[in-house]
């Protein structure tokens, strides 16, 4: 009985020692992968930051209005933020590769899902950035056109266009990520429909005088007076 107990204990301790002996090199490999990964991710970050600075990415994001959003949230500049994001994504990738070397059951599946998710993440960030850029450009174009055409409430027109494009962009980005696809599409449809309906009502009910004035100016007696006042700038 005692001998059998000692034998089992010896075998168990041998097993533990063997497991530890098998695990330690993997742990070491993992640590090496994590360290090398940190170094490679750091190189990615430095190179990307230099490229983005050369490409004047901060100016582009300022045009897009992204820089102002980041400032308000006390975050670093767009190029710094993007290079940090790439650093962390790359390093987490290496950490997960290292963890998968340990051979822990179920981890490989999570690692594969993480790498499968990366293209979607970058695609949605891409959509978001260019959506913000488009929102900034078109809202400014609308503001300038409205001011130069002497339309009422130019800032409201500009804000509406900006908001619509941003809402549309966010919904596209979230759909790309696969987050609540149907909810986002339905929510967007409801918001957009409500906005258009509201605008139609507002124009129909509130804009009667405006429409009358416009038509009078365009076709009525006042048209000639306005024209006579025009001076050729050239």
């Amino acid at each position: 009985m005692w001998d059998k107990f000692v034998l089992e204990l010896t075998q168990a301790s041998h097993g533990i020692v063997e497991n530890i002996a098998r695990f330690l090199p993997r742990l070491l490999v993992m640590i090496v992968i994590v360290i090398i990964g940190w170094f490679i991710a750091w190189i990615f970050k430095v190179v990307l930051r230099s490229i983005l600075r050369l490409a004047k990415f901060d100016k582009l994001s300022q045009d897009a209005g992204a820089a102002q959003l980041l400032n308000r949230a006390a975050l670093p500049s767009s190029s710094e933020l993007l290079s940090r994001l790439v650093f962390w994504v790359a390093w987490i990738g290496f950490i997960l590769i290292g963890v998968s070397v340990l051979g822990i059951v179920g981890i490989e599946e999570h690692v594969a899902r993480f790498f499968g998710f990366l293209p979607q993440l970058f695609a949605s960030l891409f959509i978001l950035f260019f959506g913000l850029l488009a929102a900034s450009f078109f809202s400014r174009a609308a503001l300038l056109a409205a001011v130069n055409s002497d339309l009422p409430s130019p800032r409201l027109i500009s804000w509406t266009i900006r908001t619509l494009i941003i809402v549309f962009t966010i919904s596209m980005g979230l759909e790309e990520l696969g987050l609540g696809e149907h909810t986002v599409v339905v929510a967007f449809g409801i918001v957009f429909g409500a906005l258009m309906f509201g605008l139609a009502l507002a124009f129909g009910l509130g804009g009667q005088d405006l429409a009358r004035q416009f038509l009078q100016r365009r076709f009525g007696r006042h048209g000639k007076e306005e024209h006579e006042d025009e001076l050729s700038p050239l």
């Binding site: 001011v147 130069n148 006042d229 001076l231």
Partner: protein
């Protein structure tokens, strides 16, 4: 060759039938049926009266008119000269009408005329506006003679204008061109002008015609190219510029794009020579006559100009913040807050604003087209001040006022250089 891609086969065939010419007069048209007949008659009379021995051709480049402009041009070209029955041609005076591709674009019309001039080896060329209702046969002589006889390369016009007509020219285009290029050219965006064959060849070969610069502002680009290329430039007095002249766009944003936008874009390649404090070169005036100004009373809605300036400053604050220096914007906001009767847009503030716009355009702070558009409310403010200050003034006083503005543009040129080089 440049013309291979833009001249249609039919047009080429007609040009080949004409052969080489001495003089080419270009007539860019687009829906000008109302006025073009008179212009063609005046051009024909001018050519027959003053250049009877030269081989000449009139080229009508049409942008796809829907009002039979081309038919009227062809009919006018073969009909008898109504106003000058005693004129007889010693040589055949050819007239060709063609429709350029790509739809109405002033630059495409000019490119067609330049390419035809290059192909026909014309030594003297002119472009005439199809809606110059005041045109006389003498205009053709005044435009062509300095190029044909005195070896000028570019002749721009001087008109008799009303003191409140062409405010963009007198308050911005003329002073800034004079300050930057040291040439007092009164009409940097001319609707009538003449040029030598060698300038035509050089211009036809440029690659700007497919770009926005060439399509909308070929005339300004030609003037700047002649100045910077060392060509001999001059000015001639033509006559009154009628208020019914519709060649100039009434839309201020369009006018700014065609002139100021092009002027700013030409600075990109010419700034090193512009930034030097050069000696003012007097543009030769072959006939020696200065600009003339009419001072008849005229109805102007100044109140609307002021309102649009004030609204523009308020509503465009986020855009102007990115273009103007903080101190300039603050001054503009203070001025916009004043009651209408106390409001003045001073020369110094106007020049500083314009130079800051030019530097922002260079640095592409935002979309360049947006920068040009954002200048419109400021121009309205300056136009209001000019109209108010000169309501009762004489022609000489208006000239003094324009001259003072020119001097201010020249004085503040170092400020533009600093902004351009990013030192401020």
């Amino acid at each position: 060759m440049a013309e291979e891609s833009i001249l249609s086969d039919d047009f080429l065939r007609e040009l080949m039938n004409v052969g080489e010419v001495d003089i080419l007069v270009g007539l860019p048209t687009y829906n000008d049926a109302r006025t073009v007949s008179h212009v063609v008659q005046a051009v024909r009379a001018g050519l027959l009266k003053y250049f009877p021995r030269q081989r000449a051709v009139i080229i009508n480049a049409d942008g796809g008119s829907k009002d039979s402009t081309q038919e009227i041009v062809r009919a006018s070209s073969i009909s008898d000269l109504q106003n000058a029955p005693n004129l007889h041609a010693l040589r055949t005076l050819h007239s060709i009408s063609t429709q350029y591709s790509g739809g109405h674009a002033p630059g495409a019309a000019l490119h067609t005329i330049l390419a035809a001039a290059e192909l026909l080896r014309a030594s003297t060329c002119a472009v005439v506006s199809p809606d110059s209702v005041n045109i006389e046969p003498e205009w053709i002589d005044r435009l062509l003679r300095p190029v044909a006889r005195d070896n000028f390369d570019l002749i721009t016009p001087i008109y008799r204008r009303h003191k409140f007509e062409g405010l963009l020219v007198s308050n911005l285009l003329y002073p800034i061109t004079r300050a930057l290029y040291c040439k007092p050219i009164r009409e940097p965006y001319p609707s009538e002008f003449s040029f030598s064959g060698r300038l035509a060849v050089q211009m036809a070969g440029l690659d700007i015609w497919q770009q926005e610069t060439g399509r909308i502002g070929g005339e300004t680009y030609l003037v700047v190219s002649a100045i910077t290329g060392g060509y001999q430039t001059g000015q001639v007095f033509l006559g009154p510029k009628s208020r019914t002249d519709q060649s100039a766009p009434a839309d201020i944003v369009k006018a700014l794009r065609q002139t100021v936008g092009i002027l700013f874009s030409t600075l990109e390649s010419n700034f090193p020579s512009c930034s030097a404090q050069g000696e003012m070169k007097i543009a030769s005036s072959p006939d020696g006559r200065p600009a003339e100004i009419d001072t008849e009373p005229i109805r102007v809605n100044r109140k609307r100009l002021h309102q649009m300036f004030v609204r523009g400053i308020v509503d465009l604050e986020p855009v102007l913040k990115t273009i103007l220096a903080a101190s300039t914007l603050a001054e503009l906001q203070r001025a916009a807050a004043l009651p209408e009767e106390n409001f003045r847009y001073t020369d110094e503030l106007w020049v500083r604003s314009v130079y800051e716009f030019a530097a922002s355009y260079h640095h592409s702070i935002i979309s360049r087209d947006h920068i040009v558009q954002a200048l419109a409310p400021l121009y309205r403010g300056k136009a209001y001040t000019f109209l108010t200050e000169n309501r009762e003034t004489s022609a000489q006083e208006v000239e003094v006022c324009v001259e003072q503005l020119c001097v201010k543009f020249e004085e503040l040129k170092p400020y533009l250089v600093e902004l351009w080089n990013g030192k401020k």
